[in-house]
Symmetry: C3
Subunit: 243 residues, 3 copies
């Protein structure tokens, strides 16, 4: 009932963004880890690859000897936890994808995003890093916040290395593990999350349907309910993560 949690953040975030959730999980008895993926945050090396990002989390887990933990990935973080699951499937109690990418083998995040995103990344990256424009953040990522909340959250964001969005990932082993039923999975979908637009590109069931037998959990809210509904989000992460 009180498995440890490892929470992996999305693009433009760091581990610190999880604090409101980590705090709530700790209050009900969970140990919680919120590592920052290599390449994110102040002073990060922009010349990292997606593989470097994965390694940073695998090492974090190995160094601390973590076992039997619930591994949560948000958004971009879904690609990280998919690769971590390949590296150490036996250590993971359950994978929780929260509006997260579950890529097909060989694809990058950009390969599975609408053309408008691909062009935005290509057109506005600076020194290999990409920052989300304010109007996109406000309308499509934090559509359920008032403007001051959306602005304050925007100020906390960091650039994302373009490699994280463009590197094509070998996920053959991940999909074999799924097909073999060796990974227990949940997908948490916020029903007003339009960071991937509803319809053809929607998070759910597009990505969730790739996880085999998978528990679906939903809640109202945007891609960033972290900032607007931490209580509800923490409760839903527990609902998604329990046995």
């Amino acid at each position: 009932m009180t498995a440890p949690y490892v929470l992996v953040h999305g693009a433009w975030h760091t581990g610190d963004h999880w604090e409101p959730i980590a705090d709530r999980l700790r209050r009900v008895g969970h140990t919680v880890h919120t590592p920052t993926v290599a390449g994110f945050g102040e002073g990060a090396d922009p010349d990292v690859t997606h593989a470097d990002g994965v390694d940073s989390i695998v090492r974090y887990v190995a160094d601390r000897g973590l076992h039997d933990f619930v591994l949560v990935g948000h958004s971009f973080g879904g690609t990280i936890i998919s690769k971590v699951a390949e590296a150490m499937p036996e250590r993971i109690r359950r994978l929780v994808f929260w509006n997260a990418f579950v890529l097909e083998n060989g694809n990058s995040i950009n390969d599975e995003s609408p053309a408008s995103y691909r062009e935005m990344v290509r057109g506005s990256a600076v020194d290999g890093r990409f920052s989300l424009p304010w109007p996109v953040w406000r309308e499509a990522f934090l559509n359920d916040a008032d403007e001051p909340t959306a602005r304050a959250a925007f100020e906390t964001l960091c650039p994302t290395p373009v490699s994280m969005l463009e590197d094509k990932l070998d996920l053959a082993k991940f999909h074999e593990l799924i097909a073999a039923g060796r990974l227990r999975c949940s997908y948490l979908n916020c029903t007003e999350d339009i960071a991937m637009p509803h319809g053809e590109y929607a998070w759910h069931p597009r990505f969730s349907s790739r996880l085999g037998l998978c528990r679906i959990v939903q809640m109202p809210g945007s891609h960033e309910v972290l900032f607007t509904q931490p209580d509800a989000l923490a409760a839903k992460i527990i609902e998604a993560g329990r046995d």
Copy 2:
């Protein structure tokens, strides 16, 4: 306002499973009937056909002289109430399909289910009866329960005769009645019900769209909110069943 209700259970259930709902409907003045479909429950004859199941409910209604009742079917029960409607359309005040099958003429439930279900039924039936494996129940049927609730509910289930899932049904008259506007219909959809996976095979709007002018009612929850949210379910059944 206080029409009688006849509630028809789904696969792996009996009429007794409706008790928490029946109780709540009675408290607001409805008379409620919860017959068990032939072939289900302790000591049931496993050599029944789907037609036997239908007959058992038609006889139940005829023997008690029930008229002007709301006829509710859950899941598999949707196929039963469709056939009961053919037998006695003039007795039915309204049909309520709660995440229930509305089959095309000539199809079986298996014909309209994902391949994974068909293979599961074929692979694990014993003596012509099929029990749902625990992981499928826990992740896809009671995804909104905690584990103890899901376990306790699992213990109450009974096997389903494979005929109920494999018999192909003549529903020509049912679809004629629908096309002629002679049956008032509601469809109650639980938005986290993934017993039929979201997407191509989803309950709604796949099945609801076959009912012509049909009132749609929705609530959050899994396929088995009977066990997790009896108050909300009873309220929604009333909302779906009223004039």
Copy 3:
């Protein structure tokens, strides 16, 4: 924070139907206008075109010198606000489409509605005006009301000039403005709104996806939550309309 609102009603309604919402918006400091589109309401000229309807709202706004307002359109009203946006884009702070039509250039509402609606309009219009049949209103428009509420609301409806549903609209400029990012848009979707049936013809994401970068806001309820949930609707209109 307290921009003026101009609320444009749907078919079978007049500006007066907005009163419960206007009242709630005024209480939190907004100035609110609820003009009636030409051709609607008691004593209205039935020989109006859609263009006459648009003109009546453009004139209303111009006569009062309104600027920097949030322009809301419900259902049919979406076609009006699209044309008003063409006429005076610089006056509009934000467009809010509440389960509203966003037509492709050259189409009429009927062109983008299911065949059953087109036939209903064609078959039952009287003197160029069309009234919604009670069963359609009750099951598909006010599916979340009890019957007395649905009846009382039905009594307040007025016929809609068929031209409003059949006139094909030149919306080239509107779509250019959208493509150029010159209109800020929100789409408010009630999740049990089946006035357009769920699936192929659904309001969302069919219409919302035509608005470019668009804030999506959702709430539970039918096409006419105006009558069943005025508090929640007003709150969601504010959420959709704020910067």
